[in-house]
């Protein structure tokens, strides 16, 4: 690209950037993102798609843009890694390349990379682990016994090379647990806990396994059963080991306390798609609920990108009065009050609600 073409392209980009600022809409974000993709700036396109999705979370074209930008970025990175590997092979580079192949679903590339990896570093279990991961992705998606058996074979090979490979033990334990081989799973997870007693996830799974019925040690038969039934015997370990939802009774009390403060018109607690409300809120489409969500999300993004850490409180003032938003983790508490209300007290109460939920003992 000569200088003149370069100037033209940059002018075009500037114009598109201004359009996005003046008329933010899914198609303006997509135009800008595509222009960056065509210039090979996939990381910038990814950020544009993320910004667009923060404003228009349900825009399918923006999701496609994000996917396209990510895929393009990963392909670019894979090419770079292949060039580096030609110059100086290392297990770390192979590992990164294999993970990229799994992400972009390039099975042929993965097979080639892992083959080369195991030839160059025969004592490294990484290549078998990466292959097992790819087989597991397909097994969990299609529930095909064949993919499951391949995953088991690869994990066996990885553990033969390095019996204390925690990543392989974790994958193997989870697979055996999900198909019902509880006793075999327990042995792997026990080894995992012995290797790292601080591993809370493994400890929780081990506790969970203690209360389950064993369906036998014949892994091939259990994989066939899963394929025939079209369903796994047990949910993912993360779901099984998840702590029970904290009681919302404390949240209700907290919202009542907030709504009782002079000048507070509306109060809400939002977690995921669930919301508890108090005060003058008609339904889930109330503008206050959307404003609280948007303010929390935009505040988080702003502070993270500006290296200000986590945004935990935001106060918005305007003709509507004051909207106070308090965020901790994935919980959000917000209140709308009239001008002159005791905002500090409102924020303190909101903070109590979200902090209570965070520690699982809401007031």
């Amino acid at each position: 690209m000569n200088l003149l073409q370069r100037i033209r392209v940059w002018r075009g980009l500037k114009r598109l950037e201004q359009r996005v600022r003046k008329e933010p809409a899914p198609n303006t974000f997509v135009d800008l993102g595509q222009a960056h993709i065509s210039l090979g700036m996939h990381d910038k396109a990814e950020r544009i798609a993320e910004d667009g999705l923060a404003l228009f979370p349900s825009a399918i074209e923006l999701r496609h843009l994000l996917e396209c930008a990510r895929r393009g970025g990963r392909r670019k990175r894979a090419d770079e890694l292949q060039t580096k590997l030609r110059r100086g092979p290392s297990p770390k580079l192979y590992e990164e390349l294999a993970a990229l192949h799994v992400e972009i679903n390039d099975r042929v590339g993965l097979q080639q990379t892992c083959h080369e990896w195991s030839l160059r570093f025969p004592g490294d279990p990484g290549s078998w682990h990466a292959l097992a991961q790819a087989h597991l992705v397909d097994f969990y998606r299609d529930l095909s016994a064949c993919e499951g058996a391949d995953a088991v074979r690869c994990l066996d090979r990885a553990l033969c090379l390095q019996p204390d490979d925690r990543r392989s033990l974790r994958l193997f334990g989870a697979l055996l647990y999900r198909i019902g081989a509880v006793r075999l799973a327990e042995a792997r997870v026990q080894r995992l806990v012995r290797l790292d007693p601080a591993d809370a996830e493994a400890a929780a799974l081990l506790r969970h396994l203690g209360g389950l019925e064993d369906m036998g040690d014949d892994v091939a038969q259990l994989l066939d059963d899963v394929q025939r039934a079209g369903a796994l015997r047990h949910p993912a370990p993360s779901v099984a080991a998840r702590a029970p939802e904290p009681s919302l009774a404390g949240v209700r009390e907290g919202l009542t306390a907030v709504a009782g403060i002079d000048g507070v018109a509306k109060a809400a607690f939002i977690r995921g798609s669930k919301a508890l409300v108090k005060g003058d809120i008609r339904d889930g489409r109330d503008a206050f609920l959307r404003v609280a969500r948007v303010v929390a999300k935009a505040g988080q993004r702003f502070s993270r990108r500006l290296d200000l850490g986590t945004a935990n409180k935001t106060v918005v003032e305007g003709p509507f009065g004051v909207v106070c938003v308090c965020v901790y983790g994935d919980s959000l508490a917000a209140a709308q009050c009239k001008e002159g209300a005791d905002v500090d007290r409102v924020l303190l109460e909101l903070q109590e609600i979200v902090a209570g939920v965070l520690v699982g003992v809401a007031r």
Binding site: A298, F302, G318, F320
Partner: protein, 119 residues
Amino acid sequence: MNSMQDLLVGLRRAPGVKGAAVLTSDGLVAASALDAACNADALAGLASYLLVTTGRALREGAMGGCARVTLHASHGKVQFVDLDGTNLVVLFDQFADPAAARREIDDACSRLRHLQRLR
């Protein structure tokens, strides 16, 4: 009469204030008095994103615009004040109380509005 820059430099003397800038709503820096560590362009772009997003949600909900936003984060606090077309952004350290500097900020805002009217 003070220039916009002088006003921002003066505002930095308020309790807990680390820096201040006047930004246009489309993300450009009109004037700034910030630490060398703070990238004014990045601040302008991110502030524009935050204010456009918040303003849009408020307008769509028929709640009007936003006059002031105060954000408390783990490593600092930021206050944005609408100046009719531009925004004043004031950065605080994490221990500061933005309410303690409210009088100075309001004073700077009225002077900045006056300057804008004269231009």
